[in-house]
């Protein structure tokens, strides 16, 4: 039985698994919401919560030390930190989390905020070569920074999602030769579609990136000392390199929930719009909540599609909703209605977005021009505005947020500042979702609960 609200707020024990942005903001929101009981934060890294976006930007360029990225936190948070030993198991009936150091932590309510990790290079032998690096955490940034500071002849970035593109940008700002490979036709294809991705491609090339789209790296080759020196591509070319950054997107950290009875798997932890986690039968649990990159929940604005959002603002806002709902009875619970937003800075350009671009089939430039790299692109789905993306025009996004929330018609009918003479509606050119691309940032992970349809995806990785 869940404790009554007053009793729980005074004497309950909340365990938050995952000590990054979502976990920290949830802890703060619990305290602000009046929770006076025990609060434990479990994290697999030995560090207090730190901010990840600088790791692929000012940390790589050498401007900021990796260890100075710690996030501000409310003073007097009164948290028991369990850092350096992540959760490895969950006993739902016994309400206990098992940690990597063999200890158990019992809870009254649990928040799952274990996020994602970088998808590793698929060949473990090649992945173990010196100079082959993924970037997700602080330790990764320290390693990559060391490799870049050593003056490599050429850096290879495998995957032109946001992380890969930002790493390429940092390499160019350091004056390093960099090649970027991408399986899709353009960079950022999974997040922005190929039409806007083509603008990002021009931006990369103008800044001296050797960008190669429509190709895959088939193997990485090391020297006698075990350091990566060559990359072989599926178009037959070989690159001489000293660093290979693997930027192939993220994997959700749900393995520790295997066998727990929760509805958790590679696509994330399924929860309702109030962040309450489903068990494996699709029944909502009373005392287990999820927030951040690892959570996938139905979004009423987008047809109750289950979305998993790998965004900074999602981690904060979903954590706040989860914390509120952990402290309140049914009638006072809040839905998570946040419209996704994100930003990326690369090659001196600010790319920002509101809504869910991958839901759009069509895109139209409504302000500015792609040639000048200053524009607003609006995405449409079924005659509705579902997203807007800006290059160096972030100030307009609030207006488009409002349009998205009102389900405004697409293509837009109103006149704009700096409107192009001809408004041409173009296909958005998102890759087939069955074909994996790098770092889509928004993952449509399921169907609507009102639509009893199943889609069978082809097995990957050579399974018959």
């Amino acid at each position: 039985m869940s404790p009554a609200k007053g009793v729980f707020s005074a004497d309950g024990h909340v365990v938050v698994v995952g000590a990054s942005l979502a976990g920290l903001r949830a802890a703060e929101a619990l305290r602000k919401g009046g929770f006076r009981g025990r609060l434990t934060l479990v994290g697999d890294e030995p560090y207090e919560p730190y901010d990840r976006p600088p790791l692929s930007k000012q940390v790589l360029s050498g401007r900021v030390a990796p260890e100075s990225t710690a996030l501000p936190q409310d003073s007097g948070l009164d948290v028991e930190w369990r850092l350096g030993a992540g959760a490895v198991g969950l006993d739902l009936a016994g309400k206990r989390v098992r940690l990597a150091d063999g200890q158990d932590v019992s809870f009254d309510r649990l928040l799952i905020a274990t996020g994602t990790r970088a998808r590793p290079w698929p060949n473990p032998t090649e992945a173990a070569l010196d100079g082959v690096i993924t970037l997700r955490g602080r330790d990764d940034a320290v390693r990559l920074r060391g490799e870049l500071a050593a003056g490599p002849r050429r850096v290879l970035v495998i995957g032109a999602g946001f992380t890969g593109s930002e790493i390429a940008s940092a390499c160019r700002s350091l004056g390093l030769a960099v090649t970027v490979t991408e399986r899709a036709a353009t960079p950022l294809a999974g997040a922005l579609g190929g039409t806007i991705g083509a603008v990002a491609a021009r931006l990369q090339r103008e800044n001296g990136v050797d960008l190669r789209c429509g190709v895959s790296v088939t193997s990485l080759e090391g020297d006698d000392a075990g350091h990566v020196r060559r990359a072989h591509l599926d178009d037959g070319t070989t690159l001489e390199i000293d660093v290979a950054v693997v930027a192939l997107g993220a994997q959700r950290n749900t393995e520790w929930l295997r066998g727990s009875g929760l509805g958790a798997g590679p696509r994330g932890v399924a929860c309702d719009a109030g962040c309450r986690v489903f068990d494996m039968y699709g029944i909502v649990t009373d005392d287990v909540f999820a927030a951040g990159d690892v959570a996938r929940s139905p979004h009423p604005l987008f047809g109750f599609e289950f979305l998993a959002l790998e965004h900074w603002s999602n981690a904060i806002e979903q954590a706040e909703v989860a914390a509120h709902n952990m402290l309140h009875a049914e009638s006072e619970r809040r839905p998570y209605l946040h419209v996704p937003t994100f930003w990326s800075f690369q090659f001196g350009v600010g790319i920002k977005s509101v809504g869910v671009p991958p839901l759009g089939e069509e895109v139209v430039i409504v302000q500015g021009s792609t040639d000048e790299r200053r524009f607003v692109a609006v995405y449409g789905h079924a005659g509705r505005t579902v997203a807007a993306v800006t290059f160096d025009q972030g100030k307009w996004l609030e207006f488009y947020l409002d349009q998205i929330e009102r389900a405004a018609p697409f293509p837009p009918q109103y006149r704009n500042v700096a409107q192009p003479e001809v408004r041409q509606v173009l296909p958005a050119e998102f890759p087939d979702p069955v074909v994996p691309t790098e770092g889509p940032m928004i993952v449509r992970t399921g169907h609507s609960p009102t639509e009893r349809a199943w889609t069978l995806l082809p097995a990957r990785g050579g399974r018959a």
Partner: protein, 72 residues
């Protein structure tokens, strides 16, 4: 724990590149191009006052500053 005296985080969804912080704490905030704000999230103690002023002056209130010791 890290040794930074001041901790900063900027909500870059909210930031619109007004650049007030760049004028008030030039050692901490800098704009790359028109709206790509790069900043030092853990500057030295000597930057505390400029950073607090920058946070107060931000037109969209996107800067959060705190100190591990509860000041700021």
């Amino acid at each position: 724990m890290n040794g930074s005296a001041v901790r900063i985080v900027v909500d870059l969804n909210r930031c619109q590149g007004y650049g007030q912080c760049v004028f008030l704490a030039p050692g901490v905030f800098e704009l790359h191009g028109e709206e790509a704000l790069m900043y030092d999230p853990g500057p030295e103690e000597a930057q505390r006052l400029p950073v607090v002023r920058a946070a107060a002056a931000c037109p969209v209130q996107a800067i959060r500053v705190e100190s591990p010791d509860g000041r700021a």
